[in-house]
Assembly symmetry: C2
Homo-oligomer: 292 residues x 2
């Protein structure tokens, strides 16, 4: 019988948990919770989830927003809009079973690498295009973590002349353009309408040339980032996930990337590991499952 | 007695060769040749160099301009301004000893990693700032090569709105701004003088505010690239080498990078493995010497 993980995906607004087996299959019910506003309530929720499931699993696997250390035991910096004190949490204290933590975008990249769109590839770059842009990079069948675990941050710049602030505080990061938030900002700039939404753009682009023009600008900014990443990493695939990914034209992007790069041809593909890729990847990492 | 390599550095205008020992020390005379214009003359030169030295060494190590395959046996694409046919050369056919080839910037990065400015560091990014910008990236004590060997190309973009052509044919690559050529182009744009040289800028910047402004713009473009690379790789150091590196203010760059990145603090340092870092790195790679 295969090994199993209790996987817990901790985001700023929602927390999910389920059981994942070592083939990356969901082997339990998926539970969904609102993220508590205080550390005490968050710990109570974690303990409740773990208490109900830990006896049936080999390891507890957290996919968490935030940069996670190379020991996979906790965070290395702040964790944004989570309760005070969460960034200092000693995850191992939550269970007598092994507790493993990894950044959620890294987890999703690992799920794509083992069972998804980049399965069988030693080199890939995954981008999560949502409110922000998350990144998970696979080099030689391993997650790129860097000296502290913070590697894969998609805060390279698309402009060098200070046009748009990123949520990180710096100017003109890829995240500030390639994210859903970036699409809204691009739409505001191009329409002079501060109330325009990403939905207006997506909904309107089939019929309204202005909305199409806005979307194309956004997709071109995404392309600019993909070209840079392809030249830096020479990956077998660039994988797009997250809520905005479905609107991208990966055939166009593949051709356009390959027209510009100096490295060998690559492809842009949609993620295929599903909505629970974060939990699946956390479980596979915690269980030591690779794509070999 | 230690092992030795015959190291040969093949550039578009000059070819160097010498003997390097497994401590990375130069253990022979450094010979310098003009790069022949035809493949026949180039092969004759290679055979002459190898014929005179191969009996005294364990391996032949080429540091070569161009992207080198993951088998380190030859190129994976074109090699720019080298003689026709060179890019298809079977390097192993040149000697009965093992012949090893690696990209020159990768070799220089390896020399910095083993004996130079990033010695003892598992994660570093080296930039060669010369006519172009070369890159060599160390991840987990290994060269980042990518699926084919072409990784580490510094052709991510500094602008997304098509301002300046890069030598690669694409728009606005980091190389088109952060190189010596980039400095000349920036100087032309800012001075409206098509005859201005990088020398004018470097020489004048101590006394002429306009030249200082041009240099600062160039260094800021370099900074923009360094911030992106630090966020992507979370390296222990960003190492600057090449003819333009000496003019950079690494104390300023270190502070400015750390002010902007979302990853953990890093440093910007000058390369220290010397003018023959390419040959030294090629030899150390060919001899299997790492920094462990």
């Amino acid at each position: 019988m295969g090994r199993k993980a209790l996987a817990i995906d901790v985001g700023g607004t929602k927390i999910y948990n389920t059981i994942i087996d070592d083939n990356g299959n969901i082997a339990g019910e998926v539970e969904k919770h609102s993220t508590p506003k205080t550390l005490d309530a968050l710990l109570t929720l974690f303990k409740d989830i773990i208490g109900r499931h830990e006896n049936g699993v080999d390891v507890i696997a957290f996919a968490a927003a935030g940069a996670v250390n190379n020991e996979n035991t906790g965070f290395i910096g702040s964790t944004g809009n989570m309760p005070d004190g969460y960034s200092d949490l000693d995850f191992q204290s939550l269970s007598s079973k092994q507790v493993f933590v990894e950044n959620d975008a890294n987890c999703a990249a690992w799920a794509e690498h083992v069972i998804g769109a980049s399965k069988g590839m030693a080199h890939s770059v995954m981008l999560t295009l949502g409110t922000g842009v998350g990144g998970g990079i696979i080099v030689d069948n391993k997650l790129l973590k860097g000296k502290c675990g913070a590697a894969g941050e998609m805060h390279f710049k698309l402009y060098a002349d200070k046009r748009r602030r990123c949520s990180c505080g710096a100017w003109d990061c890829f995240e500030a353009y390639g994210s859903g938030t970036g699409l809204k900002l691009t739409a505001e700039e191009m329409s002079a309408n501060p109330n325009i939404t990403t939905y207006n753009v997506i909904e309107g682009m089939q019929t309204d040339p202005k909305m199409k023009e806005i979307f194309d600008r956004w997709q071109n900014d995404l392309l600019v980032g993909l070209v840079g990443l392809a030249n830096i990493f020479d990956p077998e695939a660039l994988v797009l996930s997250g809520s905005m990914a479905q609107f991208t034209d990966v055939e166009y992007l593949t051709k356009a990337v390959n027209d510009e790069i100096v490295t060998a041809p690559t492809c842009v593909v949609h993620a295929s590991a599903g909505n629970y890729a974060g939990m699946i990847g956390a479980a596979l990492l915690a269980l030591g499952v690779n794509n070999g």
